[in-house]
Structures are given as C-alpha cells and as structure tokens.
C-alpha cells in the first residue's frame, strides 16, 4: 500500500471517478488553473480539460445552483467550496434546491451532486473562517453528510459520495490535507453511513469524526498510559445517515461514552449521538454521556484564545475521568 496525503487521496478519488464516468465534473473557485486553493484538484484541468474542470467567478450561490441544475439533467457535479465558510452564501441552493428536489417532485428527480471543501478551524484564521458546520447540514432531511478523518476514508467515501444519487455534503478537514496514511492501489469504495472503530477498547467509547479523531486517539493513548483505561475510538465518518448500530455495539461493551466534535455544542452532532444512545443503550450506560466541543463562542484569532476554544485531548481526558467516576 502507498502512503499518501489526505489531499492526494481526495485527488485520486476525483481523478478515478472522472475517468470512470464522464458525467462527473468539478466546479468551483480556483479549481482549474490554480488547481485548487488547497491543491486538491492538482492535474485535473490538464487531464480533463476546461469543460470538466470549471473555474467560476466568486459566486457561491450561483455555482451551487448551477450544480443542482446540471444534476437534474444527468451530470454528476462535484461543487468545491473554497471553504465551507463560503458555502454559507450558497446554503439556500443546498437546503432548498438540492435537499428537497427529489421529495418535492414526488420522487422523480434524483440529485447526484456533491458539495465539498474544507471545513473546521485551521490556525488563527478568525471567526468567519474557522467553522465546523456539519451539524447545520445534518439537520436537513435529504442531505447526506460525510466528514472523513484519514486518507483511506477520504478516498473511499468521496468515491461513494460521487456515485450516490443523493446530494452529499462532504466536509474535508483543512488541517488534515497534509496528514498521511495508507491507501491501497486497488479500487475500493466505503459505503456512506458506516462508522469505524479506529481503536478497540473496553472501558469507554470516544465518539468522534474528522479532525477530532486525532484528538480522541491522543486522549486514548494517554488514558492507557496514565490511567490504565482502554478507550474505544469510534469514528462516525458519515454524520448522516448515522451508524447507530456501531455506536450501540460499542457502548454496550464499554458502558461509558464521551462524544467529541469540533463544532459548537448546542444542537451539535453530539447531541444527536447522545439522543440515539440514551434510547438504544440506556440500560448499558453506567454514567451520563459527556460531550467535548468547541467553546460556545465564535472562534477567536489569538492563539491562546483559539487553543482554549478548540476541543483538546485534555478536555477529553477530563470528561473520561468524570464518566469513569475518577474525578471527585
């Protein structure tokens, strides 16, 4: 297996899907000549030409809508937002057009469009550029929401997203683009809606996705070293549909759970996870489920403030100590 970056894994998925299916095309700001603000589309313009790798004016609302229109008449658009912060200008087309068209047409109009780009906070980019918005989109029936943590998952999930006949919101981690991992040479796809146990354990379940998988894994290392606690790390990979079975199976085993996410806590992804678990695994819980999220503030710029506002392994450790009743 080759070890490649998350960025290159996404690039491979795009390239392979564009080779496999000539209805797939990529559109967004800076995707062509500049090869993407984060270089995810490197080489694609050269290989597929300007009719399949389309540079747009700065007009998120309209190119999201153009993607919707193209999807309705037989293409498979992949719409890149420079970051998900800018997708807020396009949310009307995502929520009102893409998510509802099938339903409103009485099931006549599938919507095979992918909206993708980096989300979450990078380093010191300030409030309007540091938002993890998966909960916003996961709220909406009709959308699938995917947020991979590793190169392997990024590639396999993007392929499935492109092949899916539903609109898929695909949130990449801006801070993950340079991270590396093993990706097989041979063809594979990962079905949407399947979580994965990233580290097995028996004492507590750490639920996470995207960038917080690394936070959970670091916390799990320290829990093992410092407390002899074996944490099981469950990466949601897909936020909607949510893989409740994998979550329940894990919590039945560990009886304790901490949910970690980069977004805000109020109505966050974790709130949904907790709701499913309290219903499906109530009798298996030995402690209330706790959540670790971004502080309930717009992301501040200063590095000390930013660090304090982001979810950290220390906060996960503290939450685990509490659900394990080690904290007095």
């Amino acid at each position: 297996m080759a070890t490649i970056t998350y960025r290159d894994a996404l690039n491979q998925a795009l390239r392979e899907e564009m080779q496999r299916d000539d209805t797939v095309f990529l559109m967004g700001e800076e995707v062509g000549v500049y090869q993407g603000a984060y270089k995810v589309s490197r080489g694609l313009l050269e290989e597929f030409g300007p009719s399949r790798v389309v540079d747009t004016p700065i007009a998120e609302l309209s190119f999201a809508g153009i993607g919707v229109g193209a999807a309705m008449v037989g293409l498979r658009p992949v719409i890149e937002f420079m970051t998900w912060n800018f997708a807020l200008l396009a949310i009307d087309q995502v929520v009102n057009s893409a998510a509802k068209m099938l339903y409103m047409s009485g099931g006549q109009t599938p919507m095979p469009v992918v909206f993708r780009g980096p989300g979450g906070a990078a380093l010191q980019l300030g409030a309007q550029h540091s938002q993890a918005l998966e909960a916003w989109f996961a709220h909406v029936p009709g959308l699938k929401v995917v947020a991979p943590a590793t190169p392997y998952d990024a590639k396999g999930l993007l392929k499935s997203a492109i092949r899916d006949n539903n609109p898929v919101v695909f949130l990449e981690g801006e801070m993950l683009y340079n991270t590396k991992g093993e990706v097989p040479e041979e063809e594979y796809a990962i079905p949407l809606g399947s979580a994965e146990v990233k580290r097995a354990g028996t004492d507590v379940t750490l639920v996470c996705h995207s960038k917080t998988v690394a936070v959970a894994l670091r916390a799990a290392d320290r829990l093992a070293d410092e407390h002899g606690i074996a944490a099981e790390v469950v990466d949601l990979r897909t936020i909607r549909p949510l893989d409740v079975d994998t979550l329940v199976t894990s919590v039945r085993k560990t009886n304790r759970c901490v949910v970690i996410e980069e977004g805000w806590y109020f109505c966050g992804v974790g709130a949904q996870v907790v709701d499913e678990l309290q219903r499906e695994a109530f009798d298996h819980l030995d402690a209330p489920i706790l959540r670790v999220t971004q502080a309930d503030v717009p992301m501040p710029y200063n590095k000390l403030l930013e660090r304090a506002a982001k979810p950290s392994p220390e906060q996960v450790l503290e939450a685990v100590r509490r659900v394990a009743y080690l904290e007095r």
Partner: protein, 345 residues
C-alpha cells in the same frame, strides 16, 4: 522645479496641506504593510496577510474625499483607507499580533476592526457582504436626514457576488447615499478579471442599477480623489450613489502564501513602472506644489512613527484564555452608547 509664477493651480480643490497629507497616508500605508510583512516572516504575525502594494493610491485618495461623519468599509487591501479615517498604526500592529490591547482584544485578525465614531467598519470577510451592510448604514443616514455618506470597497472578484448585486440594486432603487468603489486590480486570487466578468469595463455594471458608473485610473491619486469627491457630493446632496471603477493592479500574490506564478513578470514590471506613489511624487514635485525635501521629511516621520508604534506594542500582553468566553451576547451590556447616535447629538 517651477518658479512661483509658473506654478499651476492645484486641481480638485486640494490645498498644499492636503497634498502633504495624502503623501503621508500613502507612505504610511506602504511602510506599515512592509513592516507587517517582516513580522509575518518572523512568525510574529499569523493568519492572512494581504498586500495592497501598488493600490495604495486609490484606497488613500478615495477615503480622503470623505468628511467626518461619513463611514467607509474596507476590504483586505484597504488599509490605506482606514488609516485616512484615523486608524492608528499601533492599533493595526496590535491587531495583527493579537494583543490583548488590540481593538478586538485579540479576537479578530488583520484589519477586521471597527471604529464607527471615526467612520470605518472593517468586519465581514465574506466577499460582497459589506455592500448591503453599508447600504443599510447609508439608508439610516438618509432616513434620519443626516448629510452623511457611506463608501464601500469591493474587488473585481467580489463584484461577482449576489450580495454585491442585491446591495447595489437596493441602494440605487432607494437612492441611498452609498458610493461603491470596485477595485479592478486584474485578479481575484488567481482568477483574471476576464474570467470573472464578460465586461471589459466594470463601471458598466452601474447601468444595471440605474446609477452613474465611472472608470478612473486607480494609480492616479489626484484623479481618484476628484472622482470620489464628485460622487460623495452627489450622494450627500441626496442624488444617490455612484459606482466607481478604479483600475489598478495587484502587484503581490493574493496573500503571503501565494507565489503568484500566474502573473507574468513583465506584467508586474509594467505596473511597477506605473506605481501610484512614484507617479504622485512626480506630479506634485514637478508642478512645484510641494518640495522634495518636504516629502523626505514625511518619509522620516512615517518610519519613526512605525518604529515607535511597534516599540509601544510589541511587549503588550496577550489576552488570557478565559477572555475568549465573553461578549457572545450583550449581557451584561458592553455598549453604553450606541455608535449610530445622530451626527450632531
């Protein structure tokens, strides 16, 4: 140098003092950005750092055409406009270095800060969004019968957004006193303006809104001043807005990280030879309006001022982590007096 008898009159109603002030702000902008670039390279400034090198002329000259009480909203390349409106280099440095003492207490980056009393509003970084916001501010001026004007800057790229269009249309339909400057600097990130719009002249967008559209050489400081002054007077007189296209050029990459390989060195060199500050200096000294030694005095003053500003703030404390948690809502109230009080109240 011309003798007293041959000195032509200074155009655009500018006085000699104004010419010196304009030069001061041009140099202050350039010198401050140069200093920020050094700090960025030293890792003391993190995040986005955008350069207005070669565009200082239009920022400074247009803001100079405003009066006290008017409000402008800059984009990332309009540091010069904020300085003209009274933003202090020390505030800008504190802001970039995320000091506790910065205007936003370390919460926000670059020129995302406001002083609505002085008349600048540097906040929303999503392109085009400030057009309707500034239309709202200018509408308020109109509704209150105040002789105040709003000025908003957008790039050629930002003029493709829906917010730009909706804000322009609203402002024009309601005859809101809003002057809009479209900075046609050739690029939006790497995208050339030809891929942004089918128009050769972005001022022609004004036809769609039914307001005047004017194109001006953005590297001609006096011309930009004059055009803006006319537009501002018109807005103040209740005759509505104007779209000004300032033609200029972005000589640096989009931001520090961008190697600008898509801009040819010839093209950059051509615009370097058309530098707004060089042109301005040639214009004002050749005509004999001001002497070179006066300008050199200003250069020294600018450098000293920036040195002093950096000294003043480099050891300022960073904010405490807990301070991240306040000001999400106004309880307890943080604003004893709202900025939008009447002009002369």
């Amino acid at each position: 140098m011309a003798t007293a008898a041959q000195i032509p009159p200074i155009p655009a109603g500018l006085a000699r003092e104004d010419l010196l002030d304009l030069y001061y702000y041009l140099q202050l902008t350039r010198a401050l950005e140069t200093r920020l670039t050094n700090l960025y390279r030293q890792g003391r400034v993190i995040g986005g750092l955008y350069s207005s090198l070669g565009q200082e002329g239009e920022s400074v000259a247009s803001a100079f055409a405003l009066a006290d009480g008017d409000v402008l909203s800059p984009l990332i390349r309009n540091l010069g406009a904020m300085l003209v409106k009274g933003a202090k280099p020390v505030e800008v440095l504190r802001q970039y270095m995320a000091k506790r003492t910065s205007p936003t207490a370390g919460r926000e980056m670059n020129i995302h800060f406001n002083d609505l009393r002085l008349g600048y509003l540097g906040q929303i970084s999503h392109l085009g969004d400030m057009v309707p916001v500034m239309a709202g501010i200018a509408l308020t001026f109109k509704l209150r019968g105040e002789p105040r004007v709003g000025l908003v800057y957008v790039g050629d790229g930002a003029s493709s957004t829906g917010a730009f269009h909706e804000g322009m249309n609203f402002a024009a339909a309601q005859r809101v006193p809003l002057v809009v400057i479209v900075e046609h600097n050739g690029y939006a990130y790497s995208t050339p303006t030809t891929r942004q719009s089918a128009l050769a002249r972005l001022a022609d967008k004004a036809y769609a809104y039914g307001i005047p559209g004017v194109t001006v050489d953005g590297n001609d400081v006096v011309a930009v001043y004059e055009v803006t002054r006319t537009a501002v007077a018109r807005a103040r007189a209740g005759e509505g807005g104007t779209l000004i296209e300032a033609v200029t050029y972005r000589r640096r990459g989009h931001a520090q990280h961008d190697d600008q390989r898509y801009q040819s060195t010839d093209e950059i060199a051509r615009w370097e030879a058309n530098d707004p500050i060089d042109r301005y200096v040639a214009q004002v000294t050749r005509a004999g309006w001001v002497g070179s030694s006066e300008l050199e005095g200003i250069d020294r003053r600018v450098q000293a001022e920036i040195d002093r500003a950096l000294e003043e703030c480099e050891d300022d404390p960073l904010p405490s982590p807990e301070s991240a948690l306040t000001d999400v809502y106004v309880t307890p109230s943080v604003t004893e007096e709202l900025w939008f009080r009447r002009l002369n109240a």
